[in-house]
């Protein structure tokens, strides 16, 4: 009887060996010590605190692939989702001092400590690189009476305007709160779970306005299923498809807020390790992969590193504090 089981298992093992032959060869790691004295100990890991397929996952995988290219270090991506990112960041906190761990960071790193009882804030980690900024557009259905963001604000003064938000600490929630603070009006909010759910309810005419990343709505804008009223950015977008959209500021609503995307290392790593990852990130910024990532997600390229990233986080955190507390 034992022999039948063994045979059964052995056949399985051989089949799998055949199947996996190619991937294991590709995974063979090369130690990258060409950048001076330091090299990360063993293979590196990129933690993504959100589920596979989302925006954070895309950026985490793009960064991991890009860094793999320039350093030769094998970087595996690990999704640790849950609690709007709290699970992933908390896990990352426990990796203090490990210079072969990275995390694909975004605004949740700042928003979570402000709204929930978590053990970390942005000073617990070592910021490495901010890749770029993702602003939002105010979008409505094509038959909506609103033509500008000013129309929306004026309407909200007199009547009920229903806005969709994709979470209690999400980017669109922050943007709507900033608009409310700037203009003194208020929006009724209906909470959703993701940008795509917001999109569906907007297309179905269940809500009045939404504030979504250009990457999430580009297809609908091109097909004419949605219209964009304004962008909550400092300047107009340079992409052809978005260049005609005025900024909110142009329309008299002085609000701009960007979601940053970047990556961080755990706290307490050595200066050499920090420099190593910053150098690698700078090399990544020069690659085609970086340009492709920024373009396919319709983001604004705006890379900053190390201390500059920390300064940026300080300012951003202060802004968020006003909104979320």
């Amino acid at each position: 009887m034992a022999s039948t089981t063994a045979k059964f298992a052995a056949i399985g093992a051989v089949t799998l060996l055949a199947l996996t032959g190619c991937s294991s060869a590709a995974a063979g790691s090369t130690s990258g010590d060409q950048e001076g004295g330091f090299a990360p100990s063993g293979d590196a890991r990129m933690i993504v605190p959100f589920s596979a397929g989302g925006g954070s996952d895309l950026s985490g995988r793009a960064i991991a692939a890009g860094l793999e290219e320039v350093t030769g270090v094998n970087i595996s991506v690990e999704n640790r989702e849950g609690g709007s990112g709290a699970v992933g960041y908390s896990h990352f906190l426990a990796q203090e001092g490990k210079d072969n761990y990275l995390l694909a960071a975004e605004t949740a790193m700042l928003a979570l400590p402000l709204t929930q009882d978590v053990q970390f804030d942005y000073t617990s980690f070592t910021p490495i690189m901010k890749l770029g900024d993702d602003f939002t557009l105010l979008v409505v259905a094509p038959d909506s009476p609103y033509e500008t963001c000013t129309d929306v604000v004026d309407a909200a003064e007199k009547e009920r305007v229903v806005a969709a938000v994709s979470g209690a600490t999400s980017l669109d929630e922050i943007v709507f709160t900033l608009v409310e603070d700037a203009t003194g009006v208020s929006f009724d909010r209906v909470p959703f779970e993701s940008g795509s759910e917001v999109l569906a309810s907007l297309l179905g005419g269940k809500i009045d306005v939404a504030s979504l990343n250009p990457g999430e709505v580009l297809g609908q804008l091109e097909s004419g299923d949605l219209k964009a009223l304004c962008s909550f950015s400092e300047e107009r977008y340079e992409y052809d498809q978005l260049a005609d959209i005025p900024t909110a500021k142009e329309q008299g609503v002085d609000v701009s807020f960007a979601q940053f995307r970047g990556f961080i290392a755990p706290g307490g790593i050595t200066d050499e390790a920090r420099e190593y990852w910053i150098d690698a990130a700078k090399e990544f910024e020069q690659s085609d992969a970086y340009a492709e990532y920024i373009e396919s997600n319709v983001m604004q390229a705006n890379a900053v590193y190390g201390d500059d990233f920390v300064t940026y986080l300080e300012g951003n955190n202060a802004d968020l504090q006003k909104v979320l507390q």
């Binding site: 034992a2 089981t5 063994a6 298992a9 093992a13 991937s23 995974a27």
Partner: protein
């Protein structure tokens, strides 16, 4: 018919659920059933679910208690009128329950169950020390040798083969970063 011990266990389990339901209602009230604007709040679902659980658990307990009383009365009746038939049933149950195809008694199997649960707990504790693969390798060998009483050599061989297959699927093919433990191997 359920044995008296199972009946008591069933009532106890349902009572625990009733208590959990009640606790959830209290917790939900703490979170707030409705918010300041009169909208559904974070406490609504816990109150709803906990409340339903409490109500149905209480109904279930009542049904079980009534059932036990009725069943006992019926059993007495059955003994009076057709005790032979009842005896036959009992015998049948006994032979069906007691020894399995390997000739193992119920008591032996109960011990096996406890052993397997114990091994699982130890395995999970060992993952942090030995890493996932080694800890679960030990689990396979321990179950084979200690619980199923198989020969050492064949147990180890089967375990190693099964483990290798699992490692290839998950560790290599799917690139799952399995925990390595303090030893840092595998």
């Amino acid at each position: 018919m359920e044995s008296p011990r199972l009946q008591v266990a069933g009532i106890a389990f349902t009572a625990v659920l009733a208590a959990v339901g009640a606790a959830a209602v209290v917790g939900g009230l703490g979170y707030g059933a409705v918010d300041d604007a009169g909208l559904v709040g974070p406490g609504f679902m816990p109150i709803f679910a906990g409340g339903l659980m409490l109500i149905f658990a209480l109904i279930d307990i009542m049904q079980r208690v009534r059932h036990t009383v009725v069943a006992n009365r019926d059993a007495k009746l059955a003994l009076d009128t057709s005790s032979f038939e009842a005896l036959e049933h009992e015998l049948e149950d006994e032979t069906k329950l007691d020894v399995d195809i390997f000739g193992r008694s119920q008591r032996f199997r109960n011990r096996q169950l406890v052993a397997v649960i114990g091994i699982l707990v130890v395995t999970l504790l060992l993952v942090n020390v030995l890493g996932f693969i080694l800890a679960f390798g030990l689990m396979l060998v321990a179950i084979a040798v200690l619980v199923e009483r198989r020969a050492w050599l064949s147990s180890v061989i089967v375990s190693v083969v099964a483990l290798a297959a699992a490692y290839l699927i998950f560790g290599v093919f799917l690139r799952v970063p399995l925990p390595q433990g303090l030893l840092g191997i595998l």
